[in-house]
């Protein structure tokens, strides 16, 4: 009896407590952990500026100091240059003031004082945008460099500089790479490049993540309303992982695709494919919100950027004896001049040709002296048509240029021309209309529109400006121009787009000699084309921008015009002579030279 009772108690306890899910169990090993499923490319040794310890004298220390901010995300390298008393209060944000030394460092060996004079080029923001400074004035910076007791090497013990990160333009050149990201224009018809600076110390695997964050944070300020950022509240919730299986996986939050916009995904992927170009091995896998990832590996994205249509070898033209002539050595040099009927091809002083996928456009300034007039025409590729007169322009005519050359719809074409220092826009028909400028920088002498049709660089009053063209409204408007401060020029004569990131600039140096330079769209960096071409003033400059797919940042096709002569920029100025004219050979006549060179763009 007692035995039964005990048995029952044991069973009941076992039953009540023994079954069910246990409170705690031992660790159960399931298997070995996963191995790395990706092939992380360690990348080449990132270029980093020298640190404090590398300097053995005060001047080198300052030089290094002015480079230290490059890619220094947590300011540690910069702070290391500062003595304790300065370091304590040094709390700089991510913004870096990019300066350009106007002269060499001033210092006396053996003395702690180092001073220099520098012009502020702009502010390099955390998102890689360099905002140009509007103040061309040079500031004096003075610093004290001396050893600190108990520590080796030199430290900056006193500085007159404000508590900001300083970096020279040379460091910007050396330790950053230019990276173009893209945003859709307001019409959603084309991508507009946005140049950013990416530290070279950033490993390749992290670059997609950084670019994605730039895209999410919106376009640079100066592009303004003409570009459309990603929808508000879009976020990149995760890193872009290292590419695996030739695929780059990009994840965006669901807000990236506004509901009801069927083409949004298509636009988004093209924007990403352009922005991440070179980082996508083969396939882009795009995942938006919780939807299934979509894979893209075609090259069909490329036509979203108009600049991708730019030819490797442009068709080149000059005006010779009032006639548009092709140049030898250029593409289709044996073809007829587009659009113009041969009979009409006479009496021109300047001309511009533009093309779209379906049409070709011509704008010429005909006549001489006070009877000049603007004539335009558009025809399907390979066809010819009559010229229309465009009225409404007064004053000295400048060179016309085509800003917008639409496919299939010649009526939507927009050209720009300066007349008497003012800017006019014209179409295929009708009168020219003055373009509204938000400010009055002075008489405009040269204007160039980027292939995207929105970014504009112009020269007004000898100064270089950039702005954006808004074609959205009834009339053409330009946003407030920003002045760019390319180095070395006292007066700027002409500007042309050299690539998506560079402008070709021609002007007079401080010593009165002329030069041609490529400068970045923010004016910070330069690429010297022709440092010195003598005292002759440059009157106009044309360039055929490089195709972004080619990877070249500077075009090889630049030409300028001095009083009477046309030159190619080919390492040295090379004069365009009658020998370069294609078609029927001409005998050289004195006073009759090829001039006003231009491209079919």
């Amino acid at each position: 009896m007692r035995r039964y009772l005990a048995l029952t108690v044991v069973l009941a306890t076992l039953f009540a407590g023994g079954c069910g899910i246990p409170d705690d169990t031992d660790v159960r090993v399931i298997g070995a952990g996963p191995s790395a499923g990706f092939d992380a490319d360690a990348g080449n040794e990132p270029a980093e500026p020298p640190d404090r310890a590398a300097a053995s004298d005060p001047a080198t220390l300052i030089t290094n100091y002015l480079q230290a901010a490059a890619g220094d995300s947590d300011n540690a390298r910069v702070k290391a240059f500062l003595a304790d008393n300065l370091r304590a209060g040094f709390e700089a944000g991510p913004d870096i003031r990019v300066i350009r030394l106007t002269d060499k460092l001033l210092y006396t060996p053996g003395y702690p004082d180092v001073s220099f004079s520098a012009q502020t080029v702009g502010i390099l923001k955390g998102n890689g945008v360099l905002e140009p400074s509007s103040d061309p004035k040079a500031f004096e910076y003075s610093m004290k460099v001396s050893p600190v007791a108990g520590q080796s090497g030199y430290f900056i013990t006193a500085t007159s500089a404000p508590r900001v990160l300083l970096m020279t333009d040379t460091a910007l050149e050396k330790y950053y790479q230019r990276r173009t990201i893209y945003f859709w224009n307001d019409d959603g018809t084309g991508l507009i490049p946005d140049v950013r600076y990416m530290p070279q110390s950033l490993p390749t695997v992290q670059q997609p993540t950084t670019i994605l964050s730039w895209l999410v944070n919106g376009p640079a300020g100066w592009l303004g309303d003409t570009v459309r950022g990603l929808p508000a509240d879009t976020t990149a919730p995760a890193n872009v992982p290292a590419a695996a299986n030739e695929t780059l996986q990009v994840t965006l939050s669901a807000q990236a695709l506004p509901s009801g916009d069927g083409k949004a995904l298509e636009r988004l992927r093209r924007q990403l494919q352009w922005s991440l170009r070179g980082l996508i091995p083969q396939t882009l896998e795009l995942k938006v919100g919780n939807s299934d990832p979509v894979r893209y590996s075609d090259l069909d994205y490329q036509d979203s950027n108009v600049a991708s249509r730019l030819a490797d070898r442009p068709e080149r033209f000059v005006i010779y004896n009032g006639t548009i002539r092709r140049l030898t050595g250029s593409a289709q040099s044996s073809d007829a001049v587009p659009v113009l009927k041969p009979a009409d091809n006479k009496g021109f002083s300047t001309a511009a040709l533009g093309e779209s996928a379906t049409h070709e456009y011509v704008a010429v300034v005909a006549g001489a002296g006070g009877t000049r007039k603007l004539q335009v025409a558009a025809a399907r590729t390979g066809q010819q048509t009559d010229l229309n007169n465009v009225d409404g322009i007064t004053g000295e005519f400048g060179r016309p240029t085509w800003a917008v050359t639409p496919d299939n719809d010649p009526g939507g074409a927009v050209g720009l021309i300066t007349g008497g220092g003012k800017l006019y826009s014209f179409g295929i028909n009708g009168k020219a209309k003055p373009v509204e400028l938000q400010s009055e920088p002075g008489p405009i002498s040269s204007i160039s529109v980027a292939p995207d049709g929105h970014r504009v660089a112009f020269v007004a009053g000898g100064k270089l400006y950039r702005t954006v063209l808004d074609t959205g409204g009834d009339s053409l408007t330009m946003s407030t121009p920003e002045q760019l401060l390319p180095p070395n020029f006292s007066t700027i004569a002409a500007v042309a787009w050299s690539s998506e990131a560079y402008l070709a600039v021609a002007g007079t140096r401080a010593d009165g000699r002329s030069a041609v330079l490529d400068v970045t769209v923010d004016g910070a960096l330069t690429y010297s084309r022709l440092a010195d071409i003598g005292k002759e003033a440059i009157t106009s400059l044309v360039a055929y921008p490089s195709n972004p797919l080619s990877g070249k940042e500077n075009t090889v096709f630049e030409s300028y015009e001095t009083a009477g002569d046309a030159w190619d920029v080919l390492g040295d100025p090379v004069k365009i002579t009658t020998a370069n004219l294609a078609g029927p050979p001409v005998t050289a006549q004195p006073g009759l030279v090829p001039k006003a060179p231009f491209f079919l763009d």
Partner: protein, 545 residues
Amino acid sequence: MPVRRTLRVLRRYFRMGMRRFDRFVAPARREWRRSLQLRVVALTLIASSVLVGAFGFFVAQRSANILLNRAQDEVESSMQSKLRYAASQLSVHLTALEPRLQNTVDITVNALADDDPAESGGSVVSIRADQIPGIQAVTSVKKLDTSGLITRDLIKAVSGDGKVAEQVRTAEVNGKKIKFLVYGSPVPTNFGHLELYYMVPLTTEDSAANQIRTTVLVTGLALVILLGVVAGLVTRLVVLPVRDAARTAQRLSAGLLDQRMKVTGEDDLALLAASFNQMAANLQRQIVRLEEMSRLQRRFTSDVSHELRTPLTTVRMAADLIFSEREDFDPAVARSAELLQAELDRFESLLTDLLEISRFDAGFAALDAEHADLVPIVKRVADRLTGLADRVGVTIELRVPDEPVIAEVDPRRIERVLRNLVGNAVEHGEGRPVRITLACDEAAVAVTVRDHGIGLKAGEERLVFNRFWRADPSRARQTGGTGLGLSISAEDARLHGGWLEAWGAPGEGAQFRLTLPVRSGDRLVAAPLPLIPRDRALDSEEAGR
């Protein structure tokens, strides 16, 4: 030594406890021994409890395992995708020193936690870097202390050995104890590995398991109780008629001969009841018949005695006349007259005894009790028999107390009993002394009569009280009485509520003991004198010597 002492104390307490327990359960035990129904029900309960318990345990354990396995499978597959995601997110970092690494860990944990479907509510994701200093562990639920969930053993297996491992742990979340399935796996990176832990609450599974367990428990309990009730009812069906039969049998044995069992239906129990009733009826008939016969016999004896009395009186008167005139007759006739007289005396006393016996048998004998001193009675009996004793050369020794022995007795009957006993002793004394002893205490008086005659054989101690019994049937009925004396004496003793007993051994003589209560109607428990004489031991010792 203290251990042994402690053990001893413990053992003592245990024994005490057991004793108390025994006392406590004694009624239950008694009930257990007595009640077949209780035993059957209890055994059914125990057996079914064991069976149902084992079965329920199996079912509950099995379902809990299934639930847990399902949860494990789910977590494992979920873990795979989480692992892939974490590894891809961390792949962009080439060294552990990158300042953005912590940020990546943060957003990865958040993304993994957000990624979870809502129904797995409360699951927790944590990334730790136990191998890499400088990286903070990040948990998707900030307030949760994961130290109880991610145990040192798990960390060792996952972080140290680089294994995928799992564990079930219980943690307190918002004051509630919740079971978590903790899953850990290393996440490969370019700089060693971090560890991803995924903690999924088993609330649903646990409550499901508990519900199953409760259901099984309740069902099992109900089943056991039901089985007990069924067993009780079934046993009751069998036990009730048996009890009825037992009760009826008890009543029958108590003399209530007309008691019968109720017969319902035609089953085995009905057959039992019918057979029982038949048996009872037969018994009753037999007993009634025997009683009737016995009554007729007694009546016959009584009637015969009475009927013989009247002619005997006439014959007696004539015989007395003849006897008184015998000297006038010739000697042979005179001798006949004497013989007639003696046999008539015998006949008369036989009749008297028979009448007395039939009076006892008819239940007419009444006790005429009074307070009387037994000493004079004993002396009187001895005196009266002295003549006879002298004739056969027997001396009668008297051992009576000096003070009076007062008891509530019928002196006439006592005197008859004693006369009978002493007469027998003298008769069978074979010339050896006869000793009469009287003794008393508060409750009883005893008289023993001891002789040293031929004694009694084994088994004759009871036969001596039978009617007309003789030790040696071949012995002539010359001596002795009617053969009814001891029977009547025994009846007299019984009438007093006393005992009349005999002891004897061949060659050692015999002793008779009469024991009477001091107060009439009291129940006797002991006699003041032993039945076996004290001198017997001495005699045997002497014989041995």
